[in-house]
């Protein structure tokens, strides 16, 4: 009977106070396909260690008093955080980065949604060439476009405005986002939309009522990707923004490294400040992110 239950994936729980036989315990140490658990957890643990050590190092330097060589973050101090936040204007940089990140997220998602829908649902001349163009644009590094973009923004009076960074980030994010979103939309049966039209919806209304709710994982994937990329991007912010009060976190971090000296405590504290939003974003959206990317990858 126990074997029959196990076949159905139901694990028998022994009554309290009764030790299960050795064979059952051994089986519990293995996963369903018979692989011992340690063969999974040991490599995972080692990989986790490898990934987390740099973070530990950053945290250690961020909370360790200047001059300390302790390998544990105790006694801890908040002096480095206070320094970067107050003296080095990280509060302002944080606010600017957040503005750029959120605006890029919104504009990228909205435009990618429109473009992706057009690619998924309409047949038009040059569609394949357009898709190819989108893919090829991924090979152009941002640095190559720096001077032309600088001139365009200067002529549009957008130099030293956060909009220049938002527009540039959006433009560079769009090709991949459009391709991903169009993949998600192709996965939604056309019959659903048609049913909405039959019920009297316009194309836009039908899209909002039927397609949009199904696209949530895809939108979260594309939006978070756009946010994280613009949050971390350094080059455009450095080049297009000139006043101190417009700078973003990555530029602020770089100013903590001088020509011949570096305040490691402040640099680590700045790194923690820069990493926290990204970690929070991923912690909340990881479920949708994985679903979103895998769903978009099925059909292209």
């Amino acid at each position: 009977m126990t074997a029959a239950l196990a076949e159905k994936g139901i694990r028998a729980v022994p009554p309290a106070g009764i030790t299960p036989p050795r064979t059952a315990r051994r089986r519990r140490r293995a996963v369903d396909d018979g692989t011992p658990r340690w063969q999974i957890y040991l490599p995972l643990g080692l990989y986790l260690l490898f990934t987390l050590v740099p973070f530990y190092w950053m945290l250690l330097f961020a909370v360790r008093p200047a001059g300390s060589t302790s390998l544990v973050p105790w006694p801890a101090t908040g002096e480095h955080f206070a320094k970067v936040w107050n003296e080095r204007s990280f509060g302002m940089y944080f606010q600017n980065s957040m503005l750029v990140g959120v605006a890029t997220l919104i504009t990228t998602t909205v435009v990618a949604l429109c473009g992706g829908y057009a690619l998924a649902r309409f047949r038009f001349r040059g569609k394949s060439a357009f898709m190819l163009g989108l893919l090829c644009s991924q090979f152009i590094p941002g640095a190559l476009m720096l001077v032309p973009l600088f001139e365009i923004f200067r002529n549009l009076q957008l130099i030293n405005s956060l909009w220049s960074v938002i527009i540039a980030e959006t433009v560079f994010q769009l090709p991949l986002s459009i391709i991903l979103i169009s993949g998600f939309i192709k996965n939604v049966p056309m019959a659903l939309e048609e049913a909405a039209w039959v019920d009297g919806c316009s194309r836009f209304r039908g899209f909002c009522a039927v397609v949009l709710p199904v696209l949530r994982p895809g939108l979260i994937a594309v939006g978070s990707f756009a946010f994280v990329h613009s949050w971390n991007h350094f080059l455009f912010a450095l080049m297009f923004l000139s006043s101190q009060d417009k700078q973003t976190i990555p530029v602020g971090l770089n100013t903590l490294i001088g020509a011949d000296s570096v305040d490691l405590g402040a640099l680590a504290a700045g790194g923690v400040v820069a990493a926290v939003p990204v970690v929070i974003v991923f912690a909340f959206i990881q479920k949708w992110l994985i679903t979103g990317f895998s769903a978009g990858a099925v059909k292209g």
Binding site: A66, G67, T69, E87, R88, L146, V147, P148, F150, E151, I152, R154, N155, L156, I159, L238, M239, S242, S243, Q244, V251, G252, N254, T255, L256, I257, G258, A259, D260, S261, V262, D263, L264
Partner: protein, 446 residues
């Protein structure tokens, strides 16, 4: 019979054409480049100042700007801090696309590049007509003249210089019964004696990653005693005495240094030293404040690199000189020049260099208390005045200097440390590139 035209289609076509035309016009519109001739202005109003070492020196610059604005209430200075690692890229973009500041921090390492692009105003006449005349350290003026590639014109007002310094842990030396490393034999012996690999203690830390070549050249010329970079049109980099010195220096790797030094840039190297288990570090005065923060003044000292032979000539290389440049495209040059003059004055120059731990360019600062109190700075300042000290001028004027000594040669230096190439092959390859760059430079100049 022709097909009737769809009015919606036609309007879409017109809209698309208009959009493309607008974008094309926007993209190709000619902006004023960074090299246009500006204007003297009225000597008042707003000026923009780009600090080429932004962040680290922001506080002291804000202090200087506040003092300037108090003295000149009709001039406002907008401060913009640029990260040092990307300042050249930022200047190059602004030169190409416009948007240069009125005043900017400019180092001799990229001065030639900016002069070649016609971005900077010549300053010799302005200096001669100002309170700075005769007040600037001769060695720094010579370096700036050489770096600009024009023997008659200064394209920046020097404000500070740095010098290679041998930092050593006095407490570790005393505990090991060692004398300060004032000779090369003493330096190598101390590196050996202070190393205990099993206990993770090392006598020396070197720079194997980004920026390794300047450091290696400094060690080579200081040991060999060769006091000129060029012998005619051929570089002395691959002189047998320099090759021998390079062999000894690279030989320290893994024998007296941590293995991780292979990838050290200055940040990692200084951080490694400040962890406390390394005896010596060759860097410059700029890291003084970091060492003092880590060890306190009593456990650290800095001295110039030893002379090539006991009591013989001490060869030091020309470290980049930092200064302030006036941009040609500025529309308020009179006010901008007032700011440069003020920032380079003895009082402000002293204030800035005390904060940076560097050597001031204004001779009026020589007797300031902070200089006499900071032993390493005082030693570095006195060293060039010693008749036995010779300065090797690096050819910063070569447009390819940075690419040759960085991207081209740093991987080769790592191969040398790993024993995959010889000191001779490394030096010959570097010398070939420098000789070619010099020939090219002369050809274009003539």
């Amino acid at each position: 019979m022709s097909e009737p035209t769809n009015p919606h289609r036609r309007s879409r076509l017109i809209a698309a054409t208009a959009l493309i035309a607008t974008l094309a016009l926007t993209a190709t519109a000619c902006g004023d480049s960074g090299t246009k001739s500006g204007d003297e202005g009225k000597g008042q109003g707003k000026i923009v100042f780009w600090d080429n070492n932004g962040g680290v020196r922001t506080a002291v610059w804000k202090q200087i700007i506040a003092a300037f604005e108090k003295k000149n209430p009709d001039i406002k200075v907008e401060y913009v801090g640029i990260p040092i690692a990307d300042v050249q890229k930022k200047y190059d973009t602004a030169i190409a696309g416009g948007g240069l500041p009125d005043v900017g921090g400019v180092g001799t390492a990229y001065l030639a590049n900016m002069v070649a692009q016609n971005a900077l105003e010549p300053l010799t006449d302005r200096i001669d007509g100002s309170a700075l005349k005769g007040k600037l350290v001769t060695g720094m003026v010579t370096s700036v003249l050489a770096a600009g590639g024009d023997a008659k014109q200064l394209y920046e007002v020097p404000t500070s210089a740095n010098q290679g310094t041998l930092w050593y842990r006095t407490d570790l030396f005393t505990a090991a019964g060692l004398q300060p490393p004032t000779t090369w034999a003493g330096l190598y012996a101390a590196a050996d004696k202070l190393t205990d690999v099993e206990s993770n203690k090392f006598g020396f830390t070197l720079r194997g990653g980004k920026g390794s070549i300047a450091q290696a050249l400094e060690m080579m010329y200081a040991q060999s005693g060769i006091d000129t970079f060029w012998n005619g049109d051929r570089t002395t980099v691959n002189d047998p005495r320099n090759i021998a010195a390079l062999e000894k220096y690279a030989g320290l790797y893994k024998k007296a240094t941590p293995e991780a030094d292979l990838n050290n840039d200055f940040v990692k190297m200084v951080a490694e030293f400040d962890q406390g288990s390394i005896g010596m570090l060759q860097h410059n005065l700029g890291s003084y404040t970091d060492h003092v923060k880590a060890f306190g003044k009593d456990r650290i000292d800095g001295i110039p690199l030893p002379p090539s032979t006991d009591g013989g000539v001490r060869t030091v290389v020309s470290n980049p000189v930092d200064g302030l440049g006036l941009f040609k495209s500025g529309t308020n040059k009179a006010a901008a020049w007032k700011f440069i003059e003020f920032a380079a004055s003895a009082e402000m120059n002293s204030l800035w260099n005390e904060s940076a731990g560097a050597i001031p360019a204004n001779t009026g600062t020589a007797g300031d208390k902070w200089i006499t109190d900071a032993k390493p700075t005082k030693a570095a300042m006195d060293s060039p005045n010693d008749p036995k000290t010779k300065i090797v001028q690096f050819p910063y004027y070569l447009p390819d200097w940075n690419s040759i000594t960085k991207a081209d040669s740093e991987p080769d230096f790592q191969k040398l440390l790993l024993g995959k190439t010889s000191a001779k092959d490394f030096a010959d390859k570097l010398a070939d590139k420098l000789n070619a760059a010099q020939a090219d430079y002369k050809k274009h100049k003539s």
